[in-house]
């Protein structure tokens, strides 16, 4: 079937995954409040299962969209491989977060129905961000996602740090949204349209580079920079990631970041394709600064959750290299990397939740000493996640970095490629330090201490999720071919069919 947005009913077909997910979110919300009895904790498994069913239905709808095609490449809703790949990322991130969160939300006595409903609603917002060609809709999706994320951050109302993190995130998020909106307004002023495809046509066909457009690109880069936590707009990240409940942090680090990157790519690589040379330096510096600063600061962190927050900023830097490279290989590398990154981040935060006894304690490095020998399975899994985050050969993280480097090389970004490699070497230190504590240090009063085993509790869904993510990471590290080809084909739709490649570096 070919979709033509001149007919309103076709919009419904194009938005089927989003519609399905919105309805499931409302169903989870109502189900949560319906079964609730005063003073009794809600059953996380039942509501989480309902949310997972909603995600599965949305995934089916997303798969079904592969059978459809669209008229032209400038409809308000994109129906290209890029969007559908992004949707897989968001749905996977949400599903993994829900699976690892069951015991956490029960032990922390969080309001289960709303928690899962908010995760689903944030996912709807992300799918809009990734799935539209209109800047206004990108903005609406971003707001839907962000508002849900603010609430998820401040969700544990018995925890002061959670409230503080929520307020911080809200204030800075609102501030950055202002930049983004101003950028959208100026881009509209410069080109006369809010549609990214029409914007590209307008820029190539005479509007060209004006002061207005430069200001618009700068403001949009700042707005997206805040959302993807690029240095120097990363200040909120460590505090927010540390204070938020661990499942929310996993979800923010994986899915929220992915959604911001997807929208970032679509706006800059499609709309501003014609003026690549003028926005390229901004992205170059953002990427270089993010990689260097985040990795250096991560070296000094003694708190594992905070270390993972800085690591997430650093990974944002690697992904920014792909946007600066702006070719199909780099975009495919970005999609592949985001996929691997979703698995390894949620996996690492899952281990964190297990070790901290499903609460917010025992997050210091010392708490991990001797853990590997007391809990070998947990130790091995965490080591796999850490090695993959560091980019060790044989893991998905390594292949992801190889593809990012390949994209950078195609665009002749040699300096950025060298910075990427060097900062990766630096990152080995802080990732492997955790492993070192786990395997090489005697247990001293931390989670590895005998007698503390009872507090370490990995229920079945958590175990299944951790083993599956570790397995997928190893699989992607050893046989990345199929998934990369898929990412490459998915990225194709962003680039004009004739050349396939845009930009050529400095």
């Amino acid at each position: 079937m070919e979709l033509d947005f001149a007919r309103q009913s076709h919009l419904i077909w194009a938005l089927l995954p989003e519609i399905v997910l919105s309805i499931s979110a409302m169903a989870v919300l109502l189900a949560g409040v319906w079964k609730h009895e005063e003073g009794r904790p809600q059953d996380a498994h039942w509501l989480g299962g309902l949310a997972l069913a909603g995600l599965l239905l949305a995934a089916v709808a997303n798969g079904w969209l592969y059978g459809l095609s669209e008229v032209g490449r400038d409809g308000i809703i994109a129906l290209d491989g890029f969007r559908l790949f992004a949707n897989w990322l968001f749905l996977l991130g949400a599903a993994l977060t829900i699976v690892v969160s069951f015991t956490y939300v029960e032990r922390q006595r969080l309001q289960v129905g709303e928690f899962y409903a908010l995760i689903l609603l944030a996912t709807v917002g992300m799918m809009f961000m990734g799935g539209t060609r209109d800047l206004i809709l990108i903005f609406l999706g971003l707001e839907t996602m962000s508002i849900a994320a603010y609430v998820l951050t401040a969700y544990n109302r018995r925890d002061r740090r959670s409230a503080e993190a929520g307020l911080k995130y809200f204030l800075l998020g609102a501030f950055s949204t202002g930049f983004l909106l101003y950028g959208i307004a100026l881009a509209y002023g410069a080109t006369g349209t809010t549609n990214v495809a029409e914007m590209a046509v307008s820029i190539e066909g005479g509007a060209g580079l004006s002061g207005l457009l430069v200001a618009a690109m700068g403001l949009l880069a700042i707005g997206f920079g805040f959302k993807v936590a690029a240095v120097p707009f990363h200040m909120w990240t460590p505090d927010v990631y540390e204070g938020a409940p661990s499942p929310s942090t996993a979800y923010m680090a994986a899915a929220v970041k992915a959604a911001s990157f997807i929208a970032f790519v679509r706006v800059f690589l499609v709309a501003f394709e014609g003026v690549y040379t003028s926005w390229f330096p901004i992205l170059w510096w953002l990427a270089a600064l993010t990689m260097v600063v985040a990795n250096l600061v991560a070296l000094t962190q003694a708190n594992v959750k905070r270390m993972l927050a800085y690591s997430s900023v650093a990974h944002g830097g690697y992904l920014l290299v792909a946007i600066a490279a702006a070719n199909q290989m780099a975009t495919a590398g970005l999609l592949f990397y985001l996929l691997v990154y979703t698995f390894m981040t949620v996996g690492a935060f899952g281990i964190l939740m297990v070790v901290s006894a499903q609460s917010e304690e025992r997050l210091q490095l010392e708490d991990y000493s001797g853990l590997g020998w007391r809990q070998p399975y947990l130790g091995i899994l965490f080591t796999i996640f850490l090695l993959s985050l560091a980019g060790f050969p044989g893991t998905g993280g390594f292949m992801g970095k190889i593809y990012l480097l390949q994209g950078a090389a195609e665009a002749h970004l040699w300096t950025l490629a060298v910075i990427l490699v060097l900062t990766t070497v630096v990152s080995y230190f802080y990732y492997l330090r955790v492993s070192w504590y786990m395997w090489m240090r005697p247990a001293e009063g931390g989670a590895g201490e005998p007698g503390e085993d009872s507090a370490i509790f990995a229920p079945l869904p958590m175990r299944v999720a951790l083993v599956a993510t570790a397995g997928i990471i190893l699989f992607l590290g050893i046989f990345p071919g199929n998934i990369l080809d898929f990412a490459f084909v998915s990225a194709q739709d962003l680039f004009p069919p004739a050349s396939g490649l845009i930009g050529g570096g400095p």
Partner: protein, 118 residues
């Protein structure tokens, strides 16, 4: 293109002049005769006692939030109602979806106890 913005600029200028002019004019024109009554925080009013930062029950906040939501519903419904015949069935379906989502919110609030005062 930019000349279409001249009325906006004019309006801006007039409002700034108006505001500044009123302040300046009162300063120049008013006679200053200070009396004890005039120095009170509220002239001829109650003498304020205690801290202004009184603590309110969160219930008021709940009511305020519910009010905003359904107030916004009215803001969206009235323009639709005015143009209902022109918008036809498409508009009707869109508004129905909007109201249905709000009804879900209302059911949620009801079951959660947001409508009970105690």
């Amino acid at each position: 293109m930019s000349e279409t913005y001249i009325p906006v600029l004019l309006l801006f200028g007039v409002s700034v002049l108006n505001a500044v002019g009123m302040m300046v004019a009162t300063h120049i024109l008013n006679p200053r005769r200070s009396t004890p009554q005039k120095d009170m925080p509220y002239e001829s009013g109650m003498i304020p006692l205690g801290d202004t930062r009184a603590r309110f029950s969160v219930k008021f906040y709940m009511v305020a939030i519910s009010f905003i939501i359904f107030d916004l519903e009215a803001i969206f419904l009235i323009p639709w109602a005015v143009e209902m015949r022109y918008l036809g069935w498409e508009g009707f379906i869109a508004v129905s979806i909007f109201v249905a989502v709000l009804v879900v919110g209302l059911i949620y609030e009801w079951k959660k106890g947001g409508l009970e005062w105690d």
